[in-house]
């Protein structure tokens, strides 16, 4: 009787110690779900979801504060992936989905005020005070954050057209022929 109790108590102690050790040793820093959500978001850092960047939005989704359909650059594809990950319903996007675009500065009207440089979240604009600014197109995420601060309205968005580098083979289409 006593030996049984001792064995059980010992077992409980050993297992408890092991669990306690594991909880310290394998402690997960941060929320892994936030990282997974962030990996799906397009990282445009545009703030169109109402949060100041992709990470805060990911945190809000993870906390259940934000819906999954607030990210227009991610598109319906992104919503679908988030729904898959979180086991939620797929919802239509709050705002209309736009084609991918880049910002273009009209360099003749640019006055060199540096306001757009300060607004760009990904450092894709180069220029100096009273010098012409320009956008490094491959780095531009198309977030449109530079458009509002421009005092002379010299920035516009241009959809990315198909070129040899981004061209894709199309999904094979089955032609439907009229029955004879």
């Amino acid at each position: 009787m006593i030996s049984t109790l001792v064995i059980m108590a010992l077992g409980a102690l050993v297992l408890g110690a092991a669990l306690g050790y594991a909880s310290i040793k394998f402690k997960v820093e941060g929320d892994p779900l936030v990282e997974k959500i962030e990996a799906i978001l397009p990282q445009t850092q545009c703030g169109q979801c109402g949060y100041p960047g992709c990470k805060p939005y990911a945190a809000a989704i993870s906390a259940g504060e934000a819906d999954i359909n607030l990210c227009p650059p991610g598109g319906m594809d992104g919503v679908r992936k988030l729904a898959d990950l979180l086991g939620r319903e797929v919802k239509p996007l709050e705002v209309e989905e736009k084609p991918k675009q880049v910002a273009i500065i009209d360099e003749t009207t640019c006055i060199g005020c540096t306001l757009c440089i300060q607004a760009c979240p990904v450092d894709a604009i180069v220029g100096a005070a009273k010098q012409m600014h320009t956008i490094i197109e491959p780095l531009c995420t198309g977030c449109e954050l530079c458009i509002k601060p421009c005092p002379v309205e010299c920035i516009h968005m241009q959809p990315i057209t198909e070129n040899l580098d981004n061209w894709k083979w199309k999904y094979p289409v089955i032609e439907i022929k009229r029955a004879a």
């Binding site: 962030e38 978001l41 397009p42 990282q43 445009t44 850092q45 960047g53 992709c54 540096t114 979240p121 990904v122 450092d123 894709a124 005070a129 780095l139 995420t141 198909e162 070129n163 040899l164 981004n166 061209w167 894709k168 083979w169 199309k170 999904y171 094979p172 089955i174 032609e175 022929k177």
Partner: protein, 581 residues
């Protein structure tokens, strides 16, 4: 020479249709009215244009310099004038434009000074550089820069060098004719490759439906006293695939994740060996190539065509028949339909086939997959095309990769045998380009995130630095002010701006210091002034980086502005005084 040959799994035996285009020797295509030489003709970096519109150029002059190691140069195919460097339709299934040098030939066809390289005495690196600058790329169709393939893996010595003359695609005969007519140069080129790679053996594989080419190559090898082995391999498509030919000749199977060099084998096309020899021994860069023009034409033949010749000019040489409705670039198995005949001949153009409804009848409608497994039987890479098809069709790209989609060489055997006429390869191409595009997007997103985080870190650091600077300045000011405040007994004297201190000290001097109420008010005014001054200091003015001259100018302007403001609105300046009273 007796050699044990190995087999490869799968493959098909389509009708070869090679006879019509081998009746005549290689012809020299005439000079077209305009040449459109695209700058990006090989795998790797796009060459940078080195000429300007209006410039006179000579035949063989460098017009596009290689961009980095993994790239190959582009040269002028004839002498003349550069008309423009502009976007022109590319020889690509999309028909999208690409940066192209447009040349008006002057008809003189005048060469630059060609300097043969003594490649035997040069260091191997120099020879590789010379090949890159001569624009030598894989002419079998993949246009991979050859110099990059001529670096032996450091761990494994190259045992066999395979020279690919199999030419398994139906209709195509450009390598066949090249081997018949210019065998010696091919053998010499192979010897250069062999030296660069320090390969022990050279195996030249030719399909056994080209006995003339085999004989010509054997004769050339004997004449030159080389010990290359010319091997006739059984005719079966795709015996000319690099991995298939290596398997047949050496018995080595290249695993999915490895390259043939890891097994000590390297493979080059016969035309590549030919151009490499011309480039080194004669100093002639790659400015033309042999193109088979065949199919629904009256004069099927092989032509030596200058790169940049519009395809329209080329097909006119063959006199296409009236019912020709489309043109293919490459063979019927792996080629694509040319969307626009204005596109030029490029280094990858090995064959142009005129098609007609009788030659290539429109494919019957796609039927459901019946899981017969015929595609898996013929797949030379032992994939399961029907499984890949299901997943590609359902856009389940992760699963397609699990089923080794990227081992598919798009040879077209599966589509060829499919009883349901499913365009399997098209599904695979779609899935591949979709996966690549997603990969690109993912990388772009990761880079954007990294830049965003860096920017935030920088903003934080700058703010911290500014705060520290301000704190230091404030400390310096307060230590300066201490003796002053000791001299003037009322604490209001510490007000910062000149106006405020004058205003504040006035009541202090006018009224006796025992007036507690006035003293309190004066303290508040001084505090407000201080706060305002602090706000002004915190606001970024971006003037730290300017030159001394500019800063002085700004200071002068600021002073003028302050004067003007003081003159225009004296009430404003006086308001604190009233408040103090």
């Amino acid at each position: 020479m007796l050699q044990h040959l190995f087999g490869f799994k799968g493959g098909v035996k389509p009708q070869t249709n090679k006879a019509p285009s081998v009746q005549q020797p290689i012809g020299q295509a005439p000079l077209p009215a305009r040449l459109y030489v695209p700058l990006h003709q090989s795998i790797g970096g796009s060459p940078n244009p080195l000429v300007e519109a209006g410039e006179q150029i000579l035949k063989g002059q460098l017009i596009g310099g290689a961009d980095g190691w993994m790239s190959a140069a582009v040269h002028a195919p004839t002498s003349g004038t550069v008309l423009a460097i502009e976007k022109h339709v590319a020889a690509h299934p999309s028909g999208l434009p690409t940066l192209t040098v447009v040349i008006a030939p002057d008809g003189r066809d005048e060469w630059i000074t060609r300097t043969p390289l003594d490649y035997r005495s040069l260091a191997p690196e120099r020879v590789r550089e010379a090949l890159r600058d001569a624009g030598v790329v894989g002419l079998g169709g993949a246009v991979f820069p050859s110099h990059a393939k001529l670096t032996a893996a450091s761990s494994v010595a190259v045992e066999q060098l395979v020279i690919n003359g199999a030419e398994c695609e139906p209709f195509m005969t450009c390598d066949d004719l090249l081997m018949r007519e210019r065998a010696e140069e091919i053998v010499r080129g192979s010897a250069i490759f062999r030296e660069l790679l320090a390969a022990r053996r050279v195996l030249i594989g030719i399909e056994d439906n080209k006995p003339e080419a085999v004989a010509a190559m054997q004769a050339a090898v004997q004449r030159l006293g080389e010990d290359h082995e010319v091997v006739a391999v059984p005719t079966r498509y795709p015996a000319g695939g690099a991995k298939q030919l290596i398997r047949v000749l050496t018995g080595k199977e290249v695993p999915a994740s490895k390259r043939s060099t890891d097994l000590g084998v390297q493979c080059f096309n016969v035309a590549t060996a030919y151009t490499a020899y011309r480039a080194l021994a004669y100093g002639e860069p790659v400015i033309s190539r042999i193109v088979t023009l065949t199919g629904n034409v009256l004069q099927p033949r092989n032509w030596e065509v200058r790169l940049g010749t519009p395809l329209r000019d080329l097909v006119a040489l063959g006199q296409p028949k009236a019912d020709t409705n489309k043109y293919l670039m490459g063979g019927p198995m792996m080629g694509f339909e040319i969307p626009d005949l204005a596109a030029p001949v490029i280094k990858a153009t090995n064959c142009v086939i005129a098609g007609s409804p009788t030659l290539f009848p429109p494919s019957p409608p796609e039927m459901p997959c019946i899981r017969c497994g015929a595609c898996a039987e013929v797949c030379p890479h032992e994939l399961q095309p029907f499984e890949l098809y299901w997943f590609a069709r359902a856009r389940n790209f992760g699963k397609t990769q699990e089923y080794h989609l990227f081992d598919c060489i798009e040879c077209g055997c599966c589509s060829y045998v499919c009883p349901s006429h499913i365009p399997l390869v098209q599904y695979f191409r779609f899935a591949k380009s979709e996966i690549w595009s997603r990969e690109r997007e993912k990388q772009a997103a990761e880079a954007a995130k990294a830049r965003f985080e860096l920017r935030n870190a920088r903003a934080e650091r700058e703010q911290a630095e500014k705060a520290e600077r301000l704190a230091r300045a404030a400390a310096a000011r307060s230590s300066e002010r201490k003796p002053a405040s000791a001299a003037a007994s009322p604490p209001v004297a510490v007000a910062e701006s000149g106006v405020a201190s004058a205003v504040a000290s006035e009541p202090a001097i006018a009224s006796p210091p025992i007036d507690a109420d006035a003293l309190k008010k004066a303290t508040i005014v001084a505090a407000m002034e201080r706060a305002r001054a602090q706000r002004a200091a915190v606001q970024p003015r971006n003037t730290e980086q300017l030159t001394f001259q500019q800063q002085r100018e700004i200071a002068a302007i600021e002073a003028r502005r302050a004067n003007l403001q003081a003159e225009s609105s004296p009430d404003e300046v006086n308001r604190p005084q009233r408040a103090a009273e």
